[in-house]
Symmetry: C2
Subunit: 374 residues, 2 copies
């Protein structure tokens, strides 16, 4: 069979205060067209349908409408899971009715173990989960890390494998060795929660969500689809789109989307940026991350640049600024939460975290991050 693999729609997301609703709808329309042109038998959405566990009414209406169009109007089966940004409970509303039209939505581990059967393919829909859910389900207190929990889950799935069919896993986690961007929530706290790719080798294809870069992982049959839109300046150079996957014979083709409004990084001097020649090259609607090469103080620089680039999403100095006082380094927030905590613990106690403390910390951080929907 042939299916379309997408993920990380993040409906409701704002880009530095700019509402992305128009961009989201435009990208969705392109996905719809691709699904039709490519005559796919199903659409896989590998988590993070919403940007937050408490989506706005507008976001709810928008996602509801998209699912209605894809599933009820175009009659495309949908295979979806909840991601770390979704509230599994809220997303699950109506779930019992959805199967009737082949909208398969999985938000808990019990459902993950039951394959969705197509003529020649079995889909296992594994939502974003915490190890404690596996501990509870299997009544096994040793399932403390994502790895061991996943191993157990996959063992269970394999017992349901029909050898005459292909086996596809849809999941939402961080696979060890993947490269990251700035716009993903770090769920692989302290590295304990990264999944080794070897664990996934029994599937004919693994359709992943979570990372926003389609090339985050260099595996032939384990792929992130990436997001439909660029969600940060760090994604400016990424190609966004969807995978079209043929299961037999296996083939995986990337189909790019054309952004309604692109995200670009401009590294240049103030004088160059406000010259008509430079400014004209960038459509006014483009989201612009500016790295100023000047070191001098420029009065009211943000407002004057906005005259040329109305959608500035960030303004930095490529080489710092002359008044060094303003350059004081703050806590490095790019460290993952576990590193921050480890450093803080060391600063305060002058001791290192024990391995048991590390385990506790990792678990608590995992729970906190899920709850805070960071």
């Amino acid at each position: 069979m042939r299916f379309l693999h997408t993920a990380d729609w993040h409906i409701g997301k704002k880009l530095h205060g700019f509402d992305l609703a128009e961009e989201q709808i435009d990208a969705f329309e392109q996905v719809k067209k691709i699904a039709l042109q490519q005559k796919v038998d199903a659409v896989v959405i590998a988590g993070d349908l919403y940007d937050r566990s408490l989506p706005s009414e507008l976001a709810v209406e928008q996602l509801n409408q998209m699912i209605i169009e894809l599933n009820l109007k175009l009659k495309k089966p949908i295979l979806a899971i909840s991601g770390n940004h979704d509230s599994a409970t809220r997303l699950n509303t109506g779930h019992e009715w959805f199967k009737a039209t082949q909208y398969y939505l999985s938000t808990n581990l019990v459902e993950a173990l039951q394959p969705i059967e197509f003529e020649d393919t079995q889909f296992f829909l594994l939502p974003y989960f915490q190890p404690y859910q596996a501990r509870n389900l299997f009544e096994d207190p040793t399932l403390v890390e994502v790895n061991t929990a996943l191993k157990r889950i996959i063992k269970e799935m394999k017992m349901k494998f029909n050898p005459l069919k292909k086996h596809i896993l849809v999941a939402h986690f961080f696979v060890a060795g993947s490269s990251k961007t700035d716009s993903e929530t770090k769920i692989e706290v302290g590295g304990l929660n990264a999944v080794p790719a070897e664990l996934l080798c029994d599937f004919d294809y693994v359709a992943l969500g979570h990372l926003h870069n389609k090339d985050a992982l260099k595996e032939e049959k384990i792929k992130y689809s990436g997001s439909l839109l660029k969600f940060s300046a760090s994604e400016a150079n990424l190609k966004k789109g969807v995978w079209i996957v043929d299961t037999d014979p296996f083939k995986c083709t990337f189909i790019p989307l054309i952004p309604l409004r692109d995200v670009v990084v401009l590294t240049n001097s103030y004088q160059e940026l406000i010259s008509p020649k430079t400014a004209k090259q960038i459509p006014r609607e483009t989201y612009v991350a500016i790295k100023l090469t000047d070191k001098a103080i420029i009065p009211d620089v943000m407002n004057s640049l906005r005259n040329y680039y109305p959608r500035i999403i960030s303004l930095e100095r490529a080489y710092g600024r002359e008044d060094n006082d303003a350059e004081k380094e703050d806590v490095n927030l790019n460290l993952d939460p576990m590193e921050l905590l480890t450093n803080f613990f060391h600063e305060i106690t002058d001791e290192e975290l024990s391995s048991e403390q590390k385990k506790w910390a990792a678990e608590s951080l995992g729970t906190l991050e899920k709850e805070a929907d960071l």
Copy 2:
């Protein structure tokens, strides 16, 4: 046909900080049993399924489960509308799939005009609405008040009347002349939004939600079901339950529920209240609103009363307290928002609101109250 009429479930509601989830589930179980025993052909829920437009995950799970049990497990058709406490958009999620199992949920005016057809009965499901929605739908700028808007809506409904069937309206508003309790949101701002009962005379029965007292209105065929639980001390003496309605020949029977934990008002002296004889008469789990007849200062009165009555929901002095300083009258918050605004305007400007200003104020307050979900 025979149907059960209920409303104002307010799933997720707390009673002065006490979670009512257990009471809600218990009441629902009783409703289920009544639906089975009475062999009803459908269950009508006339709005305010949730207590707030942004229900907690727990509330979402609870209501989802109730609908699943009633509709999918017991196979009872459900006829439901959104009330002023519900987010129409959020409640609507999955709506397009629900019809397949006869779960009819109406959250907007367009749906209200399409009757739900049973063999011998037509149901019109009119959700809580604001006049602007009618103005937009009918492109008629004169529909400024609820009355005129409703008149127009009913005119439209009557064009769909099948003369061979009975006609039932399910709605959520304040009918003029109804008596109120303290736990309902005042949506009839300034009296402009009260609906005269005469407007509803063309229906064989009007199943209302909004007021929590089943006897709020003295009409044979226009009834509030009241809430399933007592939501304030002012409801302590009300009987809670559901109506069983036979359409032909018309008959309307009230079936009371037995509260898991009752709400009572105790008017008594401190010494009497802490006497074992008095305290023993009240089950410890009961929600108690206390009106102390003492006027003397009693140190730590709340905490010592809690030893006997752990679920105190309010503590007042029936006749005031000796230290009159503490009795200073605050703004009377029992006035409706329009009266408060009118008084405030007069205090500040020494003038009265013009009729046009009143109209604007009423409209703005209506919008605000809906948004703030007071």
